[in-house]
């Protein structure tokens, strides 16, 4: 909180937070992005988290024929993610306008994907459709739309030319991997805490494989970012040793990578019932899935207008 002097009374007044931050940002070489993380901006991270794990859960549930998981997936994508998306928009009453430019904008493609997924997924669960000849087509459409949801999120960020940390082909791959592991984690948690009719062991093996591969992906992403110019290097520095490091180490690394692997490897030593153990792995993974998206978005800094040592140098 900054301060300013009221010119009429001479009293010291509190300077508004957002404006104070903005003023502070403008004086920095590396200006952090705030619109998609601070205040109401956090809702876009929450929206992408729920649509990612929802789409992933739909794919796993369809593969293993788990209706409860499918219902939950619809709730995540249409309910939770939909509400978060709407609440994030400055003018939600105009949301339909976002359908206008799928040929150019990844956000528009995402809205189409979510819309088609909602219709196809709900329809595929209706008994009338399920028992009809159209069932494979509708289900296939829902699977395609869920895949498109996993795909579009990373591209929304990667389309930002101004933020080098996001502008890489690895980011969409990372978002797809985290959507798939988030979906599996959700099903593990549901199966452990009251779900039924689902063989959790089948997903557990896949889940652990995905946890390990996402850890490798994160490492690759960070290493490649350090070679993408000053702004991307600054983002990595903020993640591993700066303002975002507590969330990165606590959420992404500890909860999202170390805890699931440690729990899986020490299952005999812990002596916990299998379902409880798998549920714990699922919950830890979900926390990690949220934090990886939070950290990546929070670490975004703009390419500098003016380099530290002069004008017009590339950042």
């Amino acid at each position: 909180m900054g301060e300013r002097i009221d010119w009429r009374t001479g009293e010291t007044m509190a300077f508004p937070d957002r404006l104070d931050l903005q003023r502070q940002d403008l004086s920095q070489v590396y200006r952090p992005q705030r619109e998609w993380i601070d205040g109401r901006g956090l809702l876009i991270v929450i929206a992408h988290f729920f649509s990612g794990i929802g789409a992933g859960a739909w794919l796993w549930s369809t593969l293993y024929d788990f209706p409860m998981g499918q219902a939950l997936a619809i709730g995540c994508v249409i309910g939770l993610s939909g509400v978060a998306h709407m609440a994030f928009l400055g003018r939600w009453d105009r949301f339909w306008r976002m359908l206008r430019r799928p040929h150019q904008s990844w956000i528009s493609r995402g809205i189409w994907s979510i819309g088609i997924f909602g219709l196809a997924a709900v329809a595929s669960m209706l008994p009338a459709v399920r028992d009809s000849a159209a069932a494979p087509v509708v289900l296939g459409l829902s699977v395609l739309a869920a895949t498109a949801i996993l795909l579009y999120e990373g591209f929304v960020y990667a389309a930002s030319r101004a933020i080098p940390f996001w502008r890489t082909r690895l980011l969409p791959v990372l978002y797809i991997a985290y959507g798939l592991r988030g979906g599996a984690a959700l099903l593990l948690a549901v199966a452990a805490f009251g779900g039924s009719g689902f063989d959790v062991r089948a997903v557990e093996v896949i889940k652990l494989w995905v946890v390990v591969s996402t850890a490798v992906l994160i490492l690759l992403y960070l290493v490649s970012s350090t070679r993408s110019g000053g702004a991307a290097r600054e983002s990595v520095a903020q993640l591993v040793a700066g303002r975002i490091s507590p969330a990165f180490y606590g959420g992404t690394v500890l909860a999202g990578i170390v805890a699931p692997i440690a729990l899986a490897l020490s299952r005999d030593a812990l002596g916990l019932p299998e379902l409880v153990l798998l549920g714990a792995i699922g919950l830890a993974s979900l926390v990690g899935d949220f934090y990886v998206k939070y950290c990546i978005v929070k670490a975004g800094v703009y390419v500098p207008l003016v380099a530290a040592e002069g004008v017009g140098s590339p950042g």
């Binding site: 105009r94 960020y157 390419v303």
Partner: protein, 203 residues
């Protein structure tokens, strides 16, 4: 025609006249400065340099903000290359804010006033033109151009550091300055091809 601006960094004294003229012209709320002045200092005493760099929307030939806009609210005029926001179409997703390398876009979130006593008559009249929940930016003062005037920032520059004109006309003042004085763009490596050029301070 491609309208553009040349900013002479040798002439600019960092007086913020352009920033104030812009705010007065558009009546923007606190935190929104379509035209702003960035100041940078570098070096070690006694070899220290200070530079004032006026920044505004670059009205890029390849505007990344138009590319990512899901509604078509961000547009580029084909007749003169001016990039603007059609506020009635904007949903406030801020994708354009993320994609603009020049920090030229402002999301109108909280409707704040400058004074605790609320809006005065001047503010009431000008704030009425701004919608809440949308993104706004410089439009090279389209309303002034229609009346044959130049943008408020360049009209008000007392050092004549801002020159406005047609970049496609080889005989215009802006084209001549870019050609003869070594005009350069900010962040050319991003491929946005800005219509705002800068003349080096050391020449």
């Amino acid at each position: 025609m491609r309208l553009g601006m040349v900013i002479d960094l040798k002439r600019c004294i960092g007086c913020y006249g352009c920033q104030i003229a812009c705010k007065a012209e558009h009546g923007t709320r606190p935190g929104t400065t379509y035209a702003r002045v960035v100041k940078r200092e570098w070096g070690v005493y006694p070899n220290v340099k200070k530079l004032s760099i006026p920044v505004l929307c670059m009205h890029c030939a390849e505007p990344p903000c138009v590319e990512v806009c899901p509604t078509g609210a961000s547009q580029k005029r084909s007749e003169d290359g001016i990039v603007f926001v059609e506020s009635d179409f904007c949903v406030g997703c801020r994708a354009c804010v993320m994609s603009c390398p020049y920090g030229a876009r402002y999301f109108q979130d909280e409707q704040r006033d400058y004074f605790d006593t609320g809006e005065n008559e001047y503010e009431q009249a000008l704030y009425a033109a701004h919608q809440a929940g949308v993104v706004e930016k410089c439009d090279f003062c389209r309303h002034r151009l229609e009346q044959g005037q130049e943008p408020a920032c360049s009209a008000n520059c007392m050092c004549k550091a801002r020159i406005f004109g047609d970049l496609e006309d080889p005989n215009s003042e802006v084209s001549r300055l870019i050609r003869e004085e070594g005009g350069f763009q900010l962040n050319p490596e991003l491929g946005t091809d800005p219509s705002v050029y800068y003349l080096p301070p050391d020449r």
